[in-house]
Symmetry: C2
Subunit: 284 residues, 2 copies
Amino acid sequence: MTASKVKRIAYLGPHGTYTEEAALLHDPTAHMTPLSSVLAVAAAVDTGMADEGVMAIENSLEGSVPDTLDVLIHESRLLIRRELVLPINHQLMAKPGTSVNDIQVIYSHPQSLGQCRRFLERCFPKAQLMASLSNAKAVEEAKASPVPAAAIAPKRAAELYGMAILASGIQDHPVNVTRFVVIAHEDSPTPTGHDKTSICFSFDRDEPGQLYGVMGEFAQRAINLAKVESRPSKETLGKYVFLIDMEGHRLDPPVKAALEGVRKRVGMLKIMGSYPRFRNGAPA
Amino acid sequence: MTASKVKRIAYLGPHGTYTEEAALLHDPTAHMTPLSSVLAVAAAVDTGMADEGVMAIENSLEGSVPDTLDVLIHESRLLIRRELVLPINHQLMAKPGTSVNDIQVIYSHPQSLGQCRRFLERCFPKAQLMASLSNAKAVEEAKASPVPAAAIAPKRAAELYGMAILASGIQDHPVNVTRFVVIAHEDSPTPTGHDKTSICFSFDRDEPGQLYGVMGEFAQRAINLAKVESRPSKETLGKYVFLIDMEGHRLDPPVKAALEGVRKRVGMLKIMGSYPRFRNGAPA
């Protein structure tokens, strides 16, 4: 990509999703292509149809986004080059003129329904909750509903689809943020002094203490682990791929040494990228 | 509960879900109450409305079921007293007389849609995929659809709802099993020699090597860990509750000693129960 060319970004659409908000925060000047799945976003970047992809990887209430982890582990060689952390602020919206008292059906992505469970139980105990494949899709479905319906979605979706906001900040927990990653063929190659590195690995055999041995490589070098997680290997129940996010860049000497130590202890090791740790208001 | 009384089991319904299959495998003589959420199942057992609850906790392709983990960690004092592992065999079903060529919409739970992604892309590239809150709900929605529609659900749902099976075993990966847990006020109190124990814990402060220290308590006693996982603490992004499944019963001396060691190293420790490891065909 030359500097004069407009960057092309693929993201999990449609218009009006939280991922679109993250993509715009990442690069407001880019050409944006909304796609219908995380797998499609990865394929777009893999094939050069887009320069970068943006997808949610983790929410502070719901945990990791399995689709994103699975794409990064199993389905692509793309690397993480940036992380972004955005507050998630759910809005209840309906067609203008809809009365709160009339609402019979509420659409949203199952994760969003889960994040607003207490609000829904208290304020809409009799409403029928309907799952949608995205928050933006939920708004479309609420708009097309023959009975009075509402949707839970971001503010931007209300603007795009001409909906009226009935309630704001309806999530049960005040702290609700989502971490997004920007994926590309290259990670962030230059250490900045405040980086993170994401890796995944698995073992060929099942022996006690294996994971403990890997974690020792980091502990003995005082490398702080931001996250430790397991995902199914997809081979059999009880066989896992482990994911670790650590502080530091893969080229920082202690991290580099630890990763060399890890490589000797595991069957598969994939370095999913080093990238600057997100700080609010930090430049791209 | 006296031996003469029929056991009452609450499970995540409606009729025709995989969880119902698991509940029937657990105790075919019990009185079954299908409820609409994992939280409702836990509440039923908590309050004595049911003696036991059955819920999915982990799938070999999709990973943990966040709702179940969150209920066990945050929302109840119930314990795990049994685990069951069932093969998941997805069927494509529609109203009798529906032609495969006419199907325009396919309903299922997002996890099931994900597990059949390749089949759907190849055989139904133009069908609209619709999210449902359960597999059984998907069958209801397909049945009520004004345009030709199908649902992905277990075989039992086809029988219960009078649907015709169009394709069987449509999941992308041949190994697709789900682990269910039976929860109650007590776990399985007597060691059998082939048990598992599930715990969760968190740290008050964030220091390098803490998790490594906990894992050392197990490694030094050669206790095999079946699973290590992190879930959001729901307080802030980057703060986690860790879950470990280990081999052995909480009353087995090495496990008991390890758990005493862990208790000194963590802020919160919750022993979620000891229970016999699932073996195919094992008696209840």
